[in-house]
């Protein structure tokens, strides 16, 4: 009885892994097809739409980078009379507030909100909600303090909102400090696969485009109707993505709206960052799974893609689980028909549904090729190890989440990624 149950479970896991593989294969083919037809653009090239825009920049102890992003903001080509920039100085103990004030004094469209030790330090989401109260623009964009925006990024993002069905728009994140070390190079490859192929294909195929939490924004009325950011959840970006789609809107992805980020540069920082992402994503899966299934605003393909996206961070844990089941079945002398499955399991794994941040190697490779990379391709085999690294990260995130659910403890301990400002040296002008 136990053997049959384990066999059925292993079959189910194989099916899941294969589903992700097929999904990513379709994404990669779609991007190649787009490339052939020169359809990388999203049809918004000739649209001129310039609504009023508020940019929110939450910042807690960001003195190393806040000047850089504000300098970038002053170079934006968007009409300044339609632009409002709000820096939310979230109880910083360094010079973040002072530097922001200097910019605010010089550029009237930059506003600084200072949050005290008492009201601040509750995380990025809380800071964003505080900033949103002061925002007056029709479009609300969010940038992390360590990002460096392209000069015309606001135009590229804002014009998407001319379509009444578009509730949010997402730009592309490019790693600024890619040459720094092996970690930053691998993160850059993950980003290429994730944005150049994954996000772009989902947008083109009319699936669930993921709002990444930064380098993007919302229509004000949509964000208001959704009640802003949910402070009870760590994965606020994924949460908002699904709330936007469940409310009947869609998210546009804009591949040429580049914004430059400073990637984590050590394995320890990578762990911390991915742990938060994994836990937040899992919280969203628990929150939205049945809502997605029951939604009348989502088509069947959006529901399938939405469920796969929601459960993405469970996959490393399930892969580990399938190995354990496979090993157990070997000792339990599984039935003869099971030998067929034995072959399919390793082959499913062999085709490597996941490397790095859970995309197959061929997707990352094609993304890098289309992005004009040559030498970066050599590092793709190393992404296998980042996936292996993600197994304990996601497993710990899941265990912690389950413990907090069972014992009803607050598990939303927000950990800030420290930005040293070393990305400044990669900016040439």
């Amino acid at each position: 009885m136990i053997t049959e149950l384990l066999e059925a479970l292993l079959l189910f896991l194989t099916f899941l892994i294969t589903a992700y593989l097929i999904r990513h294969y379709i994404f990669t083919l779609k991007i190649l097809e787009n490339h052939k037809r020169n359809k990388n653009a999203n049809g918004m090239e000739n649209v001129t739409y310039q609504p009023t825009v508020s940019i929110l920049i939450p910042a807690h102890n960001e003195e190393q980078v806040i000047g850089r992003i504000l300098q970038g903001i002053t170079k934006l080509t968007y009409p300044k009379d339609k632009l409002q920039v709000i820096v939310i100085d979230d109880a910083s103990t360094d010079n973040t507030g002072k530097i922001s004030e200097e910019y605010s004094n010089e550029y009237p469209y930059i506003k600084v909100i200072h949050r005290s030790q008492k009201e601040g330090k509750r995380g990025k989401v809380s800071a964003l909600n505080a900033g949103f109260k002061h925002a007056s623009g029709e479009i609300i964009l969010c940038f992390d303090a360590d990002y460096y925006p392209q000069r015309d990024i606001v135009e590229k993002l804002a014009k998407n909102f001319v379509d009444s069905k578009v509730g949010a728009a997402q730009g592309r994140v490019v790693v600024l400090n890619e040459p720094q070390n092996i970690v930053t190079r691998l993160v850059a490859l993950e980003r290429i696969g994730g944005y150049c192929v994954d996000q772009q294909a989902r947008d083109t195929l009319g699936l669930i485009t993921h709002f990444g939490g930064t380098v993007g924004g919302f229509k004000r009325e949509v964000l208001e109707s959704l009640g802003g950011w949910d402070e009870s959840i760590l994965g606020e970006d994924t949460d908002l993505t699904f709330r936007v789609y469940l409310a009947g809107y869609k998210i546009n992805y804009v591949n040429d709206a580049d914004c430059y980020e400073v990637a984590v540069k050590s394995w320890r920082a990578y762990w911390r960052q991915r742990y938060i992402w994994a836990k937040g994503h899992m919280q969203c899966a628990l929150k939205h799974f049945f809502k997605v299934l029951r939604s009348k605003n989502l088509s069947l393909k959006e529901k399938i893609d939405g469920l796969l996206l929601l459960n993405l961070y469970f996959m490393p844990v399930l892969v580990l689980f399938s190995w354990i089941i496979g090993g157990s079945l070997f000792f339990l002398n599984s039935s003869s028909w099971f030998s067929m499955v034995w072959t399919s399991i390793p082959v499913s794994f062999s085709f490597y549904s996941f490397v790095g941040n859970f995309a197959p190697f061929f997707e990352v490779g094609i993304g890098a090729y289309l992005d004009g990379r040559t030498r970066a391709q050599w590092l793709i085999p190393l992404l296998i190890f980042t996936f292996l690294y993600n197994i304990p990260i996601c497993t710990k995130a899941l265990i912690d989440l389950l413990i907090s659910k069972i014992f009803r403890k607050n598990c939303n301990h927000w950990t800030k990624t420290v930005h040293s400002g070393n990305g400044n040296s990669y900016i040439t002008s």
Partner: protein, 131 residues
């Protein structure tokens, strides 16, 4: 051929070549295990995703052929190693084999994939440079 345009004729040819390689391995070498499945899927992925990219057809066929040879030799050597190890280590090795063999195969497939994309990306840059 315009810059950025993908090559459908190469794609069709690649799929035919990939099928031919896989069928030949299965029919002539009587391979019917993980090796043939791995190589068949490698051929399918390579033909459908690499052949449409810019670059000389001969270069792509060469890499595909090299891939099949490497895969075959790799799997054969690994099979010999596994056979020897299993006879002395028993069930413990079998477990390791089940878990590790996909990763062992992954090493050559992904490496070859990376090399071929590097070569084709260099061709693409040259074409762009000429334009």
């Amino acid at each position: 051929m315009e810059n950025g345009e993908l090559k459908i004729d190469h794609l069709v040819f690649g799929l035919l070549m990939g099928t031919d390689f896989s069928f030949s391995l299965w029919y002539f070498l009587k391979l019917l295990d993980e090796t043939i499945l791995t190589l068949a899927l490698f051929n399918f992925l390579f033909a459908s995703l690499i052949f449409p990219l810019n670059g000389a057809l001969t270069k792509k066929i060469f890499i595909l052929a090299i891939g099949n040879i490497i895969g075959l030799v790799w799997n054969y050597l690994f099979y010999l190693f596994a056979y020897t190890a299993a006879s002395s280590l028993g069930n413990l090795f079998s477990i390791l084999y089940i878990i590790l063999s996909p990763f062992i195969n992954l090493i050559w497939i992904v490496s070859l994939w990376a090399i071929s994309l590097t070569m084709l990306a260099s061709s693409k840059r040259k074409v762009e440079g000429e334009i």
